[in-house]
């Protein structure tokens, strides 16, 4: 019995948040990535990569089909290169999501959930896309998304479209707008039409 101490629990743990399988198509990361030749994108990524630390206020509006009214929230984003990202929501209720070295700690009320991003291919692209953009990690972005660059370095737009069809069924696209090394807006459109818009204001 020693070997099975909490075995059942351990077996279950990976199922945390990865919910009913029938509802959730599994995502395979695309193997071949054809880099999108764009000197502007390269320059943007280089610029972003230089930024080691950043703090910004955010306000987010979610439009969910479940809820009659849009859900608004706001708080602070903290980034430390290359793989630490925190989203601390203060309104309407305190909540935090901390991504660190690929491990996500989700705190809602008193309850804390820890998950390895790699175990959640459905969630990973969403949470990691912002981190990879901030880190100027073009390779990480292109593993999952087809990237389109628009505008100039001073006023740029990135359109991220999932390469994998299964992922595309739940996540249609992510659009980012920014100015030089600062992301100003992230808009996520999900497969079922739910949508969220996050505005970001750097603190400096």
């Amino acid at each position: 019995m020693s070997a099975t101490r909490r075995l059942a629990a351990a077996l279950m743990a990976a199922a945390l948040l990865a919910l009913s399988p029938a509802m959730m198509p599994r995502v395979a990361m695309a193997q071949d990535t054809t880099p999108y030749a764009s000197p502007e994108l390269d320059r943007l990524m280089g610029l972003l990569a230089q930024r080691r630390h950043g703090e910004a206020d955010f306000s987010e509006t979610k439009y969910l089909s479940l809820v009659k009214q849009p859900l608004k929230s706001s708080g602070v984003l903290v980034y430390d290169a290359p793989d630490h990202l925190e989203q601390r929501t203060t309104e309407p209720k305190p909540q935090s999501v901390v991504l660190d070295h690929g491990v996500v700690t989700l705190t809602i009320g008193k309850r804390q959930r820890v998950l390895r991003l790699a175990d959640y291919p459905q969630l990973a692209p969403l949470i990691d896309s912002i981190r990879a953009t901030l880190a100027g990690d073009r390779a990480a972005l292109e593993r999952v998304f087809q990237i389109d660059f628009d505008g100039s370095l001073d006023h740029w737009q990135l359109h991220l479209a999932p390469r994998d069809a299964a992922l595309a069924a739940t996540l249609k696209r992510i659009d980012m707008r920014g100015e030089r090394d600062a992301i100003r807006e992230v808009e996520v459109l999900q497969g079922d039409g739910d949508r969220s818009v996050m505005s970001i204001t750097p603190r400096e």
Binding site: A3, R6, A8
Partner: protein, 803 residues
């Protein structure tokens, strides 16, 4: 003379034939259960049964190292797929999605009977509002895209509640979709064998299957093209109780064969040098062979089963009987006076009797292995002595031996110079006693693992793999005994309620219970009764949805699924099949005879997690508080125990018992000598060198920092048993006032002792602790016994000889 010969030989042959018959039909057991105690208290019995064939004994931990993560994951999947198809394995888990899907589906489908949060209040308007608002927060969080799909079926979050109930430890890390070690360098699997862990043959077969499946999987060319840098080759690692017993058996067999071949070769060479005659050599080994035969037959008749380990040790123990024929051949050459011969037999007979007294003290031992050893040695020695006495002289073979007088004379001269005054001997004994007294608290190793044949490296690997799987070795445990499955589950639920309080107080960090994934029918019915009828639920939901701005229609799946759950048949053990909870159920709930046992392993609070743990002694559970907390549930049916403590206590009691029995054996030997020698002084002279040898050996171990185990004790008993022969021969010589016989006595004793020292000395180099402990005790001990017997007895050689 001829009639005596015919009678002796026919009785002998008849007995040999009978023994052969018994030996041929005996049952042999190769497992290590000889060193597990028999029928102790109820809780200990449970423990021993668990060790022998509980689920833990059936688990094989498998690790795959080398190459890259993707290749390891591929091998892990291929290995699991191959093994799952075999009837020898009940289940194979490696963390891949297919197995997780079944678990998720199970939890999702049965969430309303599994969730401890389901009660009437939860489904009141207020309860629903609170639960739904809570889960809406998750939907609005960054994890929302994953959470919202579940929300419409399960807005109160029962699925997550169940997962939280079941999740007690950090999950194994996953790499490329399968379990891996914390550093990601090793893919991990758990295989559950159908056969019990104590079935070493079946375990060996299962291990063979795993190796074959791995070889096949590793041989398949990798899909990804090989890189310029050659990858490290794939490597298979195995651990677990079954692996340990198979390894131990292989090692013991291997060592037994290797070492006994070596010592046999050495002894045979020595005896050939002495006898200078092959027939004499073969006849000299006849008593040993007959003794072994008689020993096995006696154990088979007395115990029903002969343990392999008994066989191995026993043959070594009765190796003492090689000595008898040596005395016979060397000390009674042809033409020796009948009086001297009968005196020789009296001495041998007394030696056999003292040995029997010593080994008889093993007979009442509760350690089956020791009791078998005792019976084996007693019957073996008796048979060997009888064959030496009644059969060897009757054999129609001319026995020749080399002239050993020069050797004996040289030895006698040496001894006459190296006399040990009794005062010095007493001082030596005192010094040894002081050493032992000084170290009295760390003299004995009371840790059962001291007997473990598992190497430190293998134990470390096992611990690492367990830690990676979040399944460390078990410490404390609550056991519920009941007469039905339902009663056991109800008991587990009642105990769980008490343990929840302790978790809140941080006395324990958590616990496992079968009732978490298989609640009792009573609990399931209560949870079902908490669910409102569809109309009622819909009207309550309408109120809640309005306040939370939710669209009511979206929650239609919830209403339907609650309606279905209200009338669903209760969840049974069979429903767990195919999920990883089946493994948990087998581990935590089992039946033996008419009795059901539910086990609730406790988890200690992490070190440094909280200072509330008394005395800062984190990582140790306050077992008395647990006992007090669960006492009220059903004192007669609930046991709280610490496995290691329990096992060590068990071993400690056997050790104490063995010490007492050995002392009793020593007492019996002294009494026997007193009666036979009719002189307290002579008895003391016989016993003194033996005790001195034992003291010096024990003090030597203490000085070397080696803690004594039960096998060292058996070794000491053997020093007395074998050494008594030497001391008795010197005593006989001293009493006979026959100085001319001294050289021959010395020569025979030297040869006999050399054989014993070779036999056990070789054993001392074994890698199996039980074998090396015995060898390291007996080899120096018997040498010292001979030496002390000689130098102490030398003073008794009549003065006439020295002039």
């Amino acid at each position: 003379m001829t009639r005596t010969r015919v009678l002796s030989l026919s009785v002998w042959l008849l007995l040999v034939a009978m023994a052969l018959l018994v030996v041929g039909r005996a049952r042999y057991s190769a497992d290590l259960s000889a060193f597990l105690p028999r029928a102790p208290s109820a809780s200990q019995q449970l423990l021993v049964q668990q060790l022998q064939d509980g689920l833990a004994s059936r688990l094989i931990l498998v690790g795959v190292e080398g190459a890259d993560g993707a290749t390891r994951a591929r091998v892990s999947r291929a290995l699991a797929a191959t093994l799952r198809a075999r009837a020898e394995f009940v289940s194979v888990s490696n963390g891949e999605d297919a197995s997780q899907d079944k678990d998720r589906e199970f939890v999702f489908r049965h969430r309303y009977v599994l969730s401890a949060a389901v009660n009437p209040a939860r489904f009141s308007v207020d309860g629903l509002r609170a639960a739904i608002a809570d889960n809406l927060e998750l939907v609005a969080s960054a994890a929302g895209p994953a959470a919202k799909q579940l929300f419409v079926s399960d807005p109160t979050g029962e699925t997550l509640q169940v997962i939280d109930q079941l999740q007690d430890a950090a999950p194994p890390r996953r790499e490329a979709g399968v379990w891996s070690s914390a550093d990601g360098a090793r893919a991990l699997l758990i295989a559950q064998t159908r056969a019990a862990g104590s079935d070493t043959d079946a375990q060996a077969q299962a291990i063979g299957l795993i190796r074959a499946a791995f070889a096949a999987a590793a041989a398949t060319p990798t899909a990804t093209p090989t890189t310029a840098v050659g990858p490290t080759p794939l490597r298979l690692l195995l651990s677990g109780p079954g692996v340990f017993s198979v390894d131990a058996r292989t090692t013991i067999e291997h060592e037994a064969v290797r070492l006994s071949l070596l010592s046999t070769a050495l002894i045979v060479t020595l005896l050939l040098l002495v006898y200078r005659s092959l027939p004499t050599l073969l006849i000299g080994l006849l008593p040993v062979a007959c003794g072994a035969l008689a020993g096995v037959a006696a154990v088979a008749l007395g115990f029903g089963v002969v343990h392999g380990i008994t066989l191995g040790f026993g043959v070594t123990l009765i190796g003492e009987s090689v000595d008898y024929s040596i005395y016979l051949f060397i000390q009674s050459p042809h033409g020796r006076a009948a009086g001297a011969a009968s005196s020789l037999w009296r001495t041998i007979g007394l030696g056999v009797l003292t040995s029997i007294c010593g080994f008889a003290s093993l007979l009442p031992s509760s350690f089956p292995g020791l009791a078998q050893l005792g019976l084996f040695s007693i019957s073996g020695l008796t048979a060997a002595a009888a064959v030496t006495r009644f059969v060897l002289p009757q054999l129609p073979v001319r026995l020749t031996v080399a002239d050993l007088a020069p050797l004996g004379t040289a030895a006698a001269r040496l001894i006459s110079r190296a006399r040990l005054p009794w005062g010095v001997a007493a001082a030596l004994a005192l010094a040894c006693a002081l050493v032992l007294f000084h170290d009295r608290d760390r003299l004995w190793n009371r840790d059962l693992s001291a007997l473990s044949p598992v190497s430190a490296g293998a134990q470390a690997l096992d611990a690492a793999m367990r830690a990676d799987l979040g399944a460390p070795d078990i410490g404390d445990l609550v056991v519920v005994n009941a007469d039905s499955e339902q009663a056991a589950l109800q008991g587990a639920e009642a105990v769980g309620g008490r343990l929840d309080v302790l978790v809140g107080q941080q006395v324990i960090a958590g616990y496992d219970s079968a009732a978490r994934f298989l609640p009792s029918d009573q609990t399931q019915a209560a949870r079902q009764a908490s669910l409102p009828a569809p109309e009622l639920l819909r009207s309550r939901l309408a109120l809640v949805a309005n306040g939370l701005d939710l669209k009511l229609d979206a929650l239609q799946p919830f209403v339907q699924q609650v309606a279905a759950a209200r009338t669903a048949a209760p969840l049974t053990r069979a429903d767990l099949d195919g999920t990883s909870f089946a493994l948990g159920a087998d581990a935590l709930l089992w039946q033996r005879g008419g009795a059901w046992h539910a086990l609730l392993p406790l988890r200690a609070t992490a070190p440094g997690a909280d200072a509330a743990v008394d005395g800062g002694a984190a990582d140790a559970i306050d077992i008395e508080r647990v006992r007090a907390a669960v006492a009220a549930v059903a004192p007669d049916h609930v046991l709280v125990m610490n496995i290691k403590h329990e096992l060590d206590a068990l071993y400690g009691s056997y050790l104490a018992e063995a010490v007492h029995l050995s002392l009793a054996g020593l007492g019996a030997i002294v009494l026997l000598l007193l009666i036979a020698l009719r002189s307290a002084a002579r008895a003391a002279r016989v016993v003194a060198p033996l005790l001195l040898a034992v003291l010096v050996v024990a003090a030597g171990f203490a000085l070397a920092g080696t803690r004594l185990t039960i096998l060292h004790l058996v070794g000491m008993l053997l020093i007395v048993a074998v050494g008594s022969n030497y001391a008795l021969f010197f005593d006989r010589r001293a009493a006979d006032h026959d100085p001319s016989a001294l050289p021959l006595t010395l020569a025979s004793l030297l040869i006999a002792n050399a054989c014993t020292v070779i036999g056990f000395g070789v054993l001392a180099f074994a890698r199996v602790p039980v074998l090396s402990a015995l060898g390291a005790t007996v080899a120096p001990g018997t040498l010292l016994a001979l030496l002390f017997a000689a130098v102490l007895a030398a003073r008794r050689v009549p003065t006439g000889a020295s002039s």
